[in-house]
Amino acid sequence: MPMLSKDRLRGTLDVLILKTLTWGPRHGYAVARWLEETTGDTLTIEEGSLYPSLYRMEQRGWIESEWGTSELGRQAKFYKLTAAGRKQLRVETAEWQAFVDVVSRVLLPG
């Protein structure tokens, strides 16, 4: 049974980042901007959560990084989804769906 916990909150950012990266490799700043724009700036991505999240997912092998040159002509670290990350995203999405279904049945009956 899915539960709403601290892990889930943190996991939610993870899964949002993973989703973002399905559109192609991006650096950290671009990930944050993309998420903020997609949610119409209702979601603010804290740097303090973003980068540790990226590093953790890289450690777990869900994403991998590569240094490249950014639009400013500076060295930037680009993150890319791995096969493991793609699988993780599928699992998390399904769990989220199940969670939403359960909560909806209670909060929005009929």
Binding site: Y29, R33, Y51, Y55, Q59, L72, R74, Q75, K77, T82
Partner: protein
């Protein structure tokens, strides 16, 4: 694992990466703000403000990043190693001939080393199956400054007076007839005090050990079986406990079974019964027949226990001046394994030398291969492989070789250990427990890894040092500059130097064995057959009649020249020893001459062909009631009556206030075998045997028979038939020719010799193969040059000499180095050598000659190939 591959090319430190990444983030915020119209200075201020928690982020990212990096690096190494291994396997499969020879050479070396180590492990290293083997000691009585058995009276007093021992237990060994329902079987019994098992801290496999109340006369009809006897005789039936078995003439109840690992004295006793001293026994100080085992109290050293026992002995010597001289405390493990330590460690050393020679040969093969692969290596270096990387690749190939060789070696070692256990002489303690256990397995793996390092390091270093430009430019033609290849020459020197000490050691042992063949045993042992006979229960007078009838019956049978009885035949361990006191001297330990007793029938002199030096031998008139007579050996005569005529002198021995007149002196006999000194002995007529003597010898006598042929079959049959005629069912056992008995005293020595000779020959062959390979390689390299020389008029002889010198010079250097090594190493053999000194010049000369011959042959055969070079063909090539 793409992340891993990428990490190889991007080696940016984690802190640097984190800083760069976050800097970029800040720059991007500023950039977006400026683009949206904010003043650049203001934008910088806002960006910095948003990032006020940067130190925290940096710290956390660094932590995770560094963890990731460690994991990646580990995976990277494993991955590289697997790549190397895979590559190595492909390379080796490409040259299966090389791989096969290298694997076999190493496998034989590692396998042989492992077999010997398994013996070292079983005999020397394995802990005894006691609770505290390091505290177990033997406490021996000193008889004429030698370790001897203990009297019951002394044992009882030691238990009461000593302070150093957690316990002292006594054991007496005795052969008994074990009867269950069928025919009796002769087994060795240990009669032990009740504390024997609890003191050593060993639990029975089944059942229980003796209770204190069972160690009392009349209450002692219980028996504990060894696991071996339980399995062989009773098929491992647990129901045996509680059942009755007959030992000699008494029924005993089986109460327990001791595990096979319990082997305190390595005498292989097959069962135990309580010793149950009678009050008489407890007071007896003059009969020494007990083995005393003790355990030291925690923290007490052997030296402290010895000091304690010295004090006890002083008090005892005051009370029993005739019978007590001292006690000797000696570590049980040390005492049992001492005599096997040096030979086993020497064999281990020798086999390690052989393994090193084998490694040398594989290194040699590697060198030959690495020359052929020089181009491959140069190309790999040219496309960016580092020196360390190539070196590691070559070491990996060796590692793979060694691992395969190690696996094959374990298979060979399994066979080798089985062969060792089947063929090793009886009586090497605990050798039958040699097997491939954890320790031996680890040793084999270590030997394999060591071999990989030794045989791979030199070629690896050399390959990486080659100048790659030169190699690439040389392309087709072989490198002429490598002709004087120092490394290869050094290998020959090393192999010869290592094989020489092993060969010389083997040579010395062989010479020693040959010497022993010609040692005079003091009697004529050809055509003599002997057997032990247990006399039917009876009085001494009845025994004498039985013996006389048996001898007469035997002597009358066809094919038998003469027959005799003795309490103890030569070449058979055991027997009793007595102190002889010349008449007129006061009784004291100094005046006693310890001498081995032989009770014999008159026919003994003629049957054994002892040499009568003086006086006469026993006749049929030397019987009970006639004057008591004695014959002594020359050694006894010399010790008791130096410079005097021993004939007619009277000697006190064996029973109170009894003097026997010396009527003859016979030549000494090497009763413990040709490798041992002549034993001082005295002979008494069996018909005048002291009353106690029958209990000393336990009603067992040895019959000795001289047949008229060397074939023992007729004599053996005669002995069995005669025993059956006199008393049906009389046990006859240990039937053997005197020659076989003599050989068995040398069995351990011969076995060592055999092993060392085998190792020496293997070492020499390996060295010869190595030399052959190196010289053959030189010849191939110089074919072109030889062609030129021959075209310019060099004769075949010139060419042969030129090439032979290239092999003979390192052999000569190796012999010089090896001789130096051998002069040191052979001194370790001193205690195993008889009639030859450790630096016997003849052995050294012969062995060096043989090795030189083998080396020269290994040089000349490939060198001759060079002389068949066709100059025209070579020059056109």
């Amino acid at each position: 694992m793409t992340a891993v591959r990428r990490a190889r090319f991007f080696r940016r430190s984690v802190p640097d990466a984190v800083a760069t990444e976050l800097d970029f983030h800040v720059a991007m915020i500023e950039h977006d703000l400026v683009r949206a119209g904010t003043d650049p200075a203001e934008a910088r201020r806002i960006a910095a403000a948003r990032f006020n928690n940067r130190p925290t982020i940096t710290a956390e990212c660094r932590r995770i990043g560094q963890q990731t990096e460690r994991t990646v690096r580990r995976t990277l190494h494993v991955q590289e190693f697997i790549d190397d291994l895979r590559f190595a396997a492909r390379q080796l499969l490409k040259s299966p001939g090389f791989a096969l020879i290298a694997v076999l050479t190493l496998a034989i070396g590692i396998g042989a080393t492992t077999v010997i180590f398994s013996a070292v492990d079983a005999v020397l290293l394995r802990r005894f199956a006691f609770a505290h083997p390091e505290r177990a000691v033997f406490v021996n009585e000193l008889v004429m400054h030698q370790d001897g058995n203990v009297s019951a009276g002394n044992y009882v007093d030691w238990v009461a007076m000593s302070r150093s021992f957690g316990g002292l237990a006594a054991e007496e060994f005795r052969n008994v007839n074990l009867t269950t329902s069928d025919a009796p079987e002769r087994v060795l019994a240990g009669r032990v005090s009740a504390n024997f098992f609890p003191m050593l801290g060993v639990a029975p496999l089944r059942g229980r050990v003796f209770a204190g109340s069972e160690d009392q006369p009349g209450n002692d009809d219980v028996v504990i079986l060894s696991e071996g006897l339980w399995r062989s005789r009773y098929g491992g039936d647990p129901g045996i406990i509680g059942r009755q078995v007959q030992l000699d003439d008494r029924r005993h109840t089986v109460i327990g079974i001791m595990p096979a690992s319990f082997d305190p004295t390595v005498n292989d006793e097959q069962l135990w019964v309580p010793i149950a001293f009678t009050p008489d026994r407890r007071a007896q100080h003059d009969e020494h027949y007990l083995t005393v085992i003790g355990t030291l109290k925690p923290g007490v050293t052997i030296a402290q226990a010895q000091a304690d026992m010295d004090g006890v002995s002083r008090i005892e010597a005051g009370r029993f001046p005739k019978d007590v001289t001292g006690a000797h405390v000696v570590g049980l493990t040390t005492f049992i394994t001492a005599q096997y330590r040096t030979p086993l460690l020497l064999l281990q050393g020798a086999v390690l030398l052989v393994l090193l020679i084998a490694c040398g040969n594989v290194a040699n093969l590697q060198l030959a291969r690495s020359s052929a692969r020089a181009r491959e290596m140069a190309i790999r270096a040219a496309i960016g492989a580092g020196r360390g990387r190539i070196g590691r690749q070559l070491l990996t190939e060796n590692l793979l070789l060694a691992l395969v060789a190690g696996a094959v070696a374990l298979g060979l070692a399994r066979l080798g250990i089985a062969a060792l256990r089947a063929n090793a002489p009886q009586g090497i303690p605990r050798l039958e427990q040699a097997h491939i256990g954890g320790g031996v397995m680890l040793f084999a793996i270590a030997a394999a890894l060591g071999s990989a390092l030794v045989s791979g390091l030199t070629p690896a270093l050399r390959s990486t040092r080659r100048d790659l430009q030169t190699t690439l430019r040389e392309s087709g033609r072989q490198n002429q500059g490598a002709v004087r290849d120092r490394l290869r020459t050094a290998l020959i020197v090393a192999e010869v130097a290592l094989s020489l000490p092993v060969l010389i050691g083997a040579g010395l042992l062989l010479r020693s064995a040959m010497h022993l063949q010609h040692v005079d045993p003091g009697f004529d042992l050809d055509n003599v057959v002997m057997a032990r006979v247990i006399l039917p229960v009876g009085t001494p007078a009845e025994h004498i009649v039985t013996v006389q009838r048996l001898v007469d019956d035997l002597a009358a049978r066809p094919g038998i020249v003469s027959a005799a009885m003795t309490s103890q035949a030569p070449m058979v361990p055991g027997g009793t020893s007595n102190g002889l006191l010349p008449e007129g001297k006061p009784f004291s330990q100094e005046n006693l001459v310890q001498s081995r007793l032989r009770l014999v029938t008159p026919g003994y002199l003629g049957t054994m062909r002892l040499r009568l030096k003086q006086g006469r031998w026993f006749t049929d008139q030397d019987v009970a009631g006639a004057p008591l007579v004695m014959v002594i050996s020359e050694a006894v005569a010399k010790a008791m009556f130096p410079g005097e005529n021993a004939l007619g002198k009277r000697i006190g021995c064996c029973e109170p206030n009894s003097y026997k007149t010396v009527i003859g002196v016979v030549g000494g006999v090497r009763s413990d075998g040709p490798a041992q000194e002549i034993v001082p002995e005295f002979y008494l007529p069996l018909a005048q045997a002291p009353a106690d003597a029958w209990s000393w010898i336990g009603n067992i006598v040895s019959v000795t028979v001289r047949a008229n042929t060397a074939d023992p079959a007729a004599a053996t049959a005669a002995i069995r038939a005669a025993a059956h005629d006199i008393a049906p069912g009389t046990p006859v056992y240990r039937v053997s020719t005197m020659r076989a008995a003599l050989a068995s005293t040398l069995e351990v020595d011969h076995f060592n010799t055999l092993l060392l000779v085998a190792l020496g020959v293997i070492g020499m062959l390996l060295a010869a193969i190595g030399i052959y390979g190196v010289v053959g390689y030189f010849v191939t390299l110089r074919t072109h040059e030889i062609g030129i020389r021959m075209a310019l008029g060099a004769t075949r002889g010139n060419v042969l000499r030129l090439l032979a010198w290239q092999g003979v010079r390192p052999i000569a250097i190796g012999i010089v180095v090896g001789t130096a090594l051998a002069t040191w190493a052979t001194t370790l053999l001193r205690s195993s050598l008889y009639g030859v000194t450790p630096r016997d010049p003849l052995t050294f000369a012969l062995v060096i000659g043989v090795l030189l011959l083998a080396g020269v042959l290994a040089t000349v055969i490939p060198a001759r190939r060079a002389t068949r070079v066709d100059p025209a063909a070579t020059l056109q090539a």
